[in-house]
């Protein structure tokens, strides 16, 4: 690690303190500000105080009273969970094959899957709209789940194969030599080793699905399948005269909480997952 900074002098400590404070203000102040706005009552919303003068849960209870938001939250959770589950199962199979087996065209395949991950979503929106309308998938859960899986799969394959390459596969052979069937070797030896990688990937994929806006706004038209980011963006436009900032702030806090919680709990792993491509690429 960095060998700098043996004995800490007071001056040095102060310097670090100031630097850190600046950095934290940069990253966190906007977030704390929206949390503060979400707890402010309507008449103190514009007072510019950092800490609300009168705390209120009105903004929260209000958004949970509207079907607009509650339904969207249910849609978001359902769609993201299903898409994540499917993408991780397929992705695990594919990443296993890529990390473990040798066959012609393997590198081409990895390249193609990376390319798809970077494929501009916006150029798929119009044909997907047409196709889904003619198949009756427009404005349904599957209508969003399918494109999500597609864009989540390359992400899953890429992250998982980086993890899988690190697994000591000799263990599998050893287990087989000791008389385990291939199925047993996989279940008892490899699966426990692979679990952390799979789990991290699932979190990243879930975040991806949860955050998506373009597909969600293009391929839905009603509350039936509208997800939270879209519902949130409609909060703004709908009421021009009544200021929706309080409810927007509350809703933004509600949809960001799951992500922040994930990250707090699994910080190390997520950072490893986000950088796995960079480190081992």
């Amino acid at each position: 690690m960095a060998g700098i900074g043996g004995a800490e002098t007071t001056a040095k400590k102060t310097r670090w303190g100031i630097l850190n404070a600046v950095v934290v203000i940069y990253a966190l102040f906007p977030v704390l500000w929206i949390v503060s706005l979400s707890f402010k009552s309507k008449d103190t919303l514009a007072d510019g105080n950092f800490i609300p003068r009168s705390w209120t849960f009105d903004n929260y209870s209000e958004i949970f009273k509207t079907t607009e938001f509650v339904r969207a939250l249910a849609n978001s959770i359902g769609i993201a969970l299903i898409a994540t589950a499917v993408a991780v199962v397929f992705g695990t199979m594919a990443a296993y094959a890529i990390a473990r087996l040798d066959f012609p065209g393997k590198s081409l395949l990895v390249g193609v899957s990376l390319l798809i991950a970077m494929f501009p979503q916006v150029s798929l929106v119009s044909p997907l709209f047409e196709i889904e309308r003619s198949l009756g998938l427009f404005d349904t859960w599957p209508g969003l789940i399918l494109p999500y899986i597609t864009f989540a799969l390359p992400l899953a394959i890429y992250t998982l194969s980086a993890f899988f390459r690190e697994i000591p596969w000799e263990l599998e052979k050893a287990a087989k030599m000791d008389g385990a069937t291939p199925g047993q070797a996989f279940r008892r030896v490899i699966a426990p080793l692979a679990a952390p990688g799979v789990f991290t990937t699932a979190i990243l994929v879930f975040i991806f699905c949860w955050n998506d806006f373009l597909f969600a706004i293009s391929l839905t038209s009603t509350e039936r399948s509208r997800t939270v980011p879209v519902a949130l963006s409609f909060f703004t436009g709908s009421s021009q005269f009544e200021d929706p900032t309080g409810s927007i702030a509350a809703a933004a806090v509600v949809i960001t909480i799951p992500i922040i919680l994930f990250v707090l709990f699994f910080q190390r792993r997520i950072v490893a997952g986000l950088t796995s491509g960079a480190v081992k690429g």
Binding site: A2, D102, I255
Partner: protein, 320 residues
């Protein structure tokens, strides 16, 4: 790449790999490939079929507001993409937006990564907090900037200005209308805030994979911190900078959320994805929207290719 110790039995390279002595049968070889197929088939169906559809629609004259006038248009739509004033200006906007955001993010990200590479108390905490912006749902982040920061009445920026002014006893602080005064900068700032942590993570991974013994040796030989950074750290970081710049550009080119939310594409901030969306959902010109979509795809591919080469050759020359 993989940790394979023995040559896997299923190897069937066309070039001179000795035939596996007791290799599995053809059926077994296919069985080994089977795990890949669902993902592959699925991905191809959902991305490539629609893309083929895009390609086809892009050479058609198809506007759903004018359903009778449908037919083959050749490259008219593409010509329109490059001649239509709206679309052309949105191409320029996309380029400016992408370059500014990626460069600023890389510089800030490098600074933060260098900071986090030092040892100090609370490093883990600072890192977690720094990643926070990247994890805020993009639409929520854009709304946050629009309402909580830029809003002239209760936004944080004008609030801070008022507070600073009152500190010095001045009573008429300037209260700029951030979004209408500087729309593109407003969008860029929001994107920079959200994407800097991503660059920081990649660059931090690079910094921490530095061979420290070399750095140590240089220090003992009397190299200044700047020299160490310039001649050791920076060249080592090159590939990480490339990677960050590349991935960043690819995602920022496609950005839709921030533009849609903060300015709704007004005031000259409409980038290509936003314009495509508008062409499709408001003008209902499917042909032209598809042609613009194909342009974005080609643009992304070009970035992916060029950026990588240009950046790497530039840096290689510098290092020499």
């Amino acid at each position: 790449m993989s940790l394979d110790t023995a040559p896997p039995p299923a190897r069937q390279q066309r070039r001179a790999t000795p035939p596996a002595p007791k290799g599995p049968s053809a059926a077994a070889r296919w069985a080994r490939r089977a795990p890949l197929l669902p993902a592959l088939i699925f991905t191809i169906i959902v991305t490539q079929l629609p893309f083929v559809a895009t390609l086809i629609i892009s050479v058609l004259r198809w506007n759903s507001l004018d359903p009778d006038n449908r037919g083959f248009a050749g490259f008219d739509n593409y010509a329109a993409v490059f001649t239509d004033a709206n679309l052309r200006s949105s191409i320029v906007t996309t380029v400016i937006l992408t370059v500014v955001v990626v460069v600023v993010c890389l510089v800030l990200g490098l600074g933060l990564a260098l900071l986090l590479d030092q040892k100090f108390r609370g490093r883990g905490l600072v890192r977690t907090m720094l990643i926070a912006p990247f994890l805020v749902v993009p639409v929520a982040a854009a709304l946050l900037w629009k309402h909580a920061l830029y809003n002239p009445e209760y936004g944080l920026f004008n609030g801070a200005i008022t507070w600073l002014w009152s500190l010095f006893g001045a009573d008429r602080p300037p209260q700029p209308e951030w979004i209408s005064d500087m729309p593109l900068v407003a969008v860029e700032a929001a994107l920079v805030w959200q994407w800097t942590p991503f660059m920081m993570l990649i660059l931090l991974a690079g910094l921490q994979s530095r061979p420290m013994d070399v750095v140590e040796a240089a220090r003992i030989d009397g190299a200044t911190p700047w020299q160490i950074f310039r001649y050791l750290t920076f060249p080592h970081l090159r590939q990480y900078l490339e990677l960050g710049g590349l991935l960043g550009s690819i995602y920022i080119v496609q950005n839709f959320d921030a533009v849609f939310t903060i300015t709704s594409g007004g005031l000259g901030t409409a980038n290509l994805p936003y314009t495509i969306y508008q062409t499709f959902y408001q003008a209902h010109d499917y042909g032209q929207a598809s042609a613009a979509g194909v342009v974005v795809v080609i643009g992304s591919l070009i970035i992916a290719n060029f950026a990588l080469r240009v950046v790497s050759s530039l840096l290689k020359d510098e290092v020499k």
